[in-house]
C-alpha cells in the first residue's frame, strides 16, 4: 500500500468513526483511562524520585550521618534534675577515622541552642560547632563572605557563619559580614552567609534553617560540654560530647559496608544505644522501593484499564465488521486484496485507540497537576512517558484490531455481498 493509500484509509477510518461519535467515544474511554494512569503513574514516580534524589544530594550520597540520641530508658530511670550523659564521643570520632577502612574523613559537630542578637533583633539559633570540613561535606552556596577555615580553628577565633534565613531574621545581609553578633553572652564576628537548602523533605538534613556555624574549639572553650535545658520550671542538664558525626566514605560502593562497620564498632563501645546511624544511600534505596511498590499498583490499574480498553476496541471493531460485511464484499469484488481490507480495519482501530491515547495524555498531564495542587506531592511529567504511553495506545489498536481485521479479510466475498 502506498503512503497515499495510507492517508486515504486514514481519512476513511476517521470519517467512519465520526459517524458513530458516541460509540467511538465510549469505546475510547478504556484507553483514555489506561493511558491517563500510565502517564500519571510515571509522573508521580518521577516526581518522588527526583525529590528523593534532591534530598539525598543535600545529604550527600557518600556520607553517613551519626547522631546522638537520648536513650529511651534514661528518661524513666533518672530524675529530671540529674545530669544525663550520653551520645557520641570525641574518641568515637577518632577511632572511626583511624580504624575503619574507606573512611576518608569525619566531621564532628556539637549542637547548642543559644540566642543570637544583632542590634535590636534577637533570634534563637542552632549553634553548630564543627570543623571547617563540614562545608566540604554539606555543600551549600556561599552568598557572602566565606566559610570557616582551618586558621579560624587554630586561632580559636570567635567567628561565625550564618544561614540566609538566620541572617534575614537578624536583619543582616551581605553588608553584615564583619559585624559582630552576640551569641549567648559572647560576641562573634560574622564571616559569611550560606544559602539554605534544608527542610521541606521527608529526610532529615544535617543543616537547619537557623544555623550558626562556629569553630568546635571555640564552642568548647566558651560554652563547655554541659548544656542546660529549662523545661517546666525544672532544669535538665545534659552532657553530650558530640551531637553529630558526618562520615565521608571514599566511594559510593563502600557506603553500606562502612555503615555496618560503624554500627558494629559503636555497639561494642556504647553500653546503650545512644546514637543513630542514618545512611542517605539506604534511604534512597528505600525511597526507590516505595516508588516501585507505588508504580506496581498504578501499573496494574493501568494495565487492567488498557486491557479492558483493548477488549472494548476489539468488541466494537467486530461489530463494525459485521455491520459492514456488505461493504467488505463490495470492496473485495472490486479487487481489494485481503491485506488492504486488513489495513483498512486495522487503521480504524488504531485511530480509535490513538485518539483515546491523545485524550489520555491530556488526562495524564492533568492528574499529576491536581495531585500536586491538592497533596503537595511533587510530580514531573517526563517526555518519554508521553511517547511511551502514546505508543502503548497505538499498539493496543494494532493488537486488538488485528483479529477483527483478519475476520473482515477472510470473509467470503460472495457471502459478504449477499449479506443484508
Amino acid at each position: 500500500m502506498t503512503s497515499l493509500g495510507f492517508l486515504r484509509h486514514l481519512r476513511i477510518g476517521v470519517k467512519d468513526l465520526l459517524r458513530h461519535k458516541l460509540r467511538s467515544f465510549l469505546t475510547m474511554l478504556g484507553v483514555v483511562f489506561g493511558v491517563g494512569s500510565v502517564v500519571a503513574m510515571l509522573a508521580v514516580g518521577e516526581g518522588a524520585s527526583s525529590q528523593a534524589l534532591a534530598e539525598i544530594r543535600k545529604l550527600g550520597s557518600n556520607n553517613i550521618l551519626l547522631s546522638s540520641v537520648k536513650p529511651a530508658e534514661e528518661e524513666t530511670q533518672q530524675r529530671p534534675s540529674m545530669m544525663a550523659v550520653y551520645g557520641l564521643l570525641y574518641e568515637d570520632d577518632a577511632r572511626l577515622r583511624e580504624t575503619i577502612p574507606h573512611v576518608r574523613r569525619t566531621v564532628p559537630a556539637r549542637i547548642l541552642r543559644r540566642d543570637g542578637a544583632l542590634g535590636e533583633r534577637r533570634v534563637e539559633l542552632r549553634l553548630v560547632a564543627t570543623t571547617p570540613d563540614w562545608f566540604d561535606l554539606v555543600r551549600r552556596e556561599i552568598i557572602a563572605g566565606r566559610t570557616l577555615l582551618r586558621r579560624d580553628a587554630e586561632r580559636m577565633a570567635p567567628v561565625c557563619v550564618l544561614t540566609e534565613a538566620g541572617a534575614r531574621r537578624l536583619l543582616a545581609g551581605a553588608h553584615s559580614v564583619g559585624e559582630r553578633v552576640r551569641i549567648g553572652s559572647e560576641l562573634f564576628e560574622v564571616i559569611g552567609i550560606l544559602r539554605n537548602e534544608s527542610g521541606g523533605g521527608a529526610i532529615e538534613t544535617p543543616d537547619e534553617e537557623l544555623d550558626a556555624y562556629i569553630p568546635l574549639g571555640v564552642a568548647q572553650k566558651l560554652f563547655g560540654e554541659v548544656s542546660v535545658r529549662h523545661s517546666q520550671g525544672s532544669r535538665e542538664m545534659e552532657r553530650v560530647e558530640l551531637h553529630r558525626i558526618i562520615v565521608e566514605v571514599d566511594a559510593i560502593d563502600h557506603v553500606e559496608k562502612v555503615a555496618s562497620a560503624i554500627e558494629a564498632m559503636l555497639s561494642r563501645c556504647h553500653r546503650k544505644k545512644d546514637y543513630r546511624i542514618s545512611v542517605p544511600l539506604a534511604l534512597l534505596r528505600q525511597a526507590e522501593t516505595t516508588k516501585r511498590t507505588f508504580n506496581m499498583v498504578l501499573g496494574s490499574i493501568a494495565g487492567i484499564s488498557l486491557l479492558v480498553g483493548g477488549i472494548g476496541i476489539m468488541n466494537i471493531m467486530l461489530a463494525s465488521v459485521t455491520e459492514r460485511t456488505r461493504e467488505i464484499g463490495i470492496r473485495r469484488a472490486i479487487g481489494a486484496r485481503r491485506r488492504q481490507i486488513v489495513a483498512q480495519f486495522l487503521l480504524e482501530s488504531v485511530v480509535l485507540s490513538g485518539a483515546g491515547g491523545v485524550v489520555g495524555l491530556g488526562l495524564g498531564v492533568l492528574i499529576p497537576k491536581m495531585i500536586t495542587r491538592f497533596s503537595g506531592m511533587p510530580t514531573v511529567v517526563p517526555l518519554y512517558s508521553l511517547m511511551l504511553s502514546f505508543g502503548i495506545s497505538a499498539a493496543i489498536g494494532v493488537v486488538f484490531g488485528l483479529y477483527p481485521a483478519w475476520r473482515a479479510a477472510m470473509l467470503d466475498p460472495i457471502a459478504a455481498l449477499r449479506h443484508e
Binding site: T2, R326, G329, I330, I334, A336, R337, I414
Partner: protein, 243 residues
C-alpha cells in the same frame, strides 16, 4: 488506464477468446449434503461479445457469474481468463485480476453508502494505488461518460436507482476492464430507466468491451448478441447472434 486493450468488434475476423470454461462444475457442500450448482459447463467468450446468461432462479446463473468473476473457484474443470489458468492464481492474484480485468455491476448497485459518488468511482483506482489527483480526474471523466458529472459530491442515498446504477457502471469501468459482469442490472429499476441502462451497456459493448449479463427477462436479454440458457446447472441452449 490500460491502453493495451484494443477495440475489437464481434464481427472481426479473428476474435480473441477472453474466457474459456472447460467442463466446469461447481459443487457446494451444505451440512454433508452435496448440492451441484453447475455441471460440465463448457463455454467460451470472445472479446467484444455481449452475452446474456438466462435461466430460472436456481438454475446456476449467479454461480456461473461468480465463477467467471473470480469470486469463486470451480470444483472441477478448468477456467482460462485471458490465457491464464485460474487454478494457478492465489487469492491476491485473483483480486488483482478482478481489479484490472473485470468490472462488476450488481442488481442492488452495491455502492458504499458512506462514500460520495466520486469516492465510489475512485475505489478501483484507489486499490490500484493511483494518486488522489489522478483518481479525481479519471472519476470526473467517467461520471461525465455516464451523465452524472454534476453529482460527484452526492451520496448514493441522494440519487435515484438509475443514477446509482450509472455510478456503479462508472466504477466498473474505472480500470478499463476487458470484461463487464452484470448481475440483473435492471432488476431494481423501472422499465424506462432499465432501457437507459441497457442502452449504456450496449454503448460500452460497441466500444469493444466484452459484457456478460445475468438476467431472467427475455426483453432485457434481447439486447445481447449471444444467449446462454441454463437449466439445473447445465447448459440447455447456446444462441450465438450473428449481427
Amino acid at each position: 488506464m490500460n491502453p493495451s486493450i484494443s477495440v475489437v468488434h464481434s464481427n472481426t475476423d479473428a476474435p480473441v477468446e477472453v474466457i474459456r470454461l472447460q467442463g466446469v462444475s461447481k459443487v457446494y457442500r451444505m451440512e454433508s449434503v452435496e448440492v451441484r450448482a453447475l455441471t460440465h459447463i463448457t463455454w467460451s467468450v470472445r472479446q467484444g461479445d455481449f452475452w446474456a446468461i438466462m435461466g430460472a432462479s436456481g438454475s446456476g446463473k449467479s454461480t456461473l457469474l461468480n465463477l467467471v468473476g473470480l469470486l469463486d473457484r470451480p470444483s472441477e474443470g478448468s477456467y482460462t481468463l485471458n490465457g491464464m489458468n485460474v487454478a494457478d492464481l492465489d487469492d491476491d492474484a485473483m483480486s488483482q485480476q478482478r481489479l484490472l480485468r473485470l468490472g462488476f455491476i450488481f442488481q442492488s448497485f452495491n455502492l458504499i453508502p458512506q462514500l460520495s459518488v466520486q469516492e465510489n468511482i475512485e475505489l478501483p483506482l484507489f486499490y490500484r494505488g493511483w494518486e488522489a489527483a489522478t483518481c479525481a480526474r479519471r472519476a470526473c471523466e467517467l461520471a461525465e461518460k455516464v451523465g452524472l458529472a454534476d453529482r460527484l459530491r452526492h451520496r448514493p442515498a441522494e440519487l435515484s436507482g438509475g443514477q446509482c446504477q450509472r455510478v456503479a457502471i462508472a466504477r466498473a469501468l474505472a480500470n478499463e476492464p476487458a470484461v463487464l459482469l452484470a448481475d440483473e442490472p435492471t432488476g431494481n429499476l423501472d422499465s424506462r430507466t432499465g432501457t437507459q441502462i441497457m442502452d449504456l451497456l450496449v454503448e460500452m459493448n460497441q466500444e469493444g468491451r466484452t459484457i456478460i449479463m445475468v438476467t431472467h427477462e427475455s426483453d432485457i436479454a434481447a439486447y445481447a448478441s449471444c444467449r446462454l440458457h441454463l437449466r439445473d446447472g447445465r447448459i440447455e441452449r447456446l444462441e450465438q447472434g450473428h449481427p
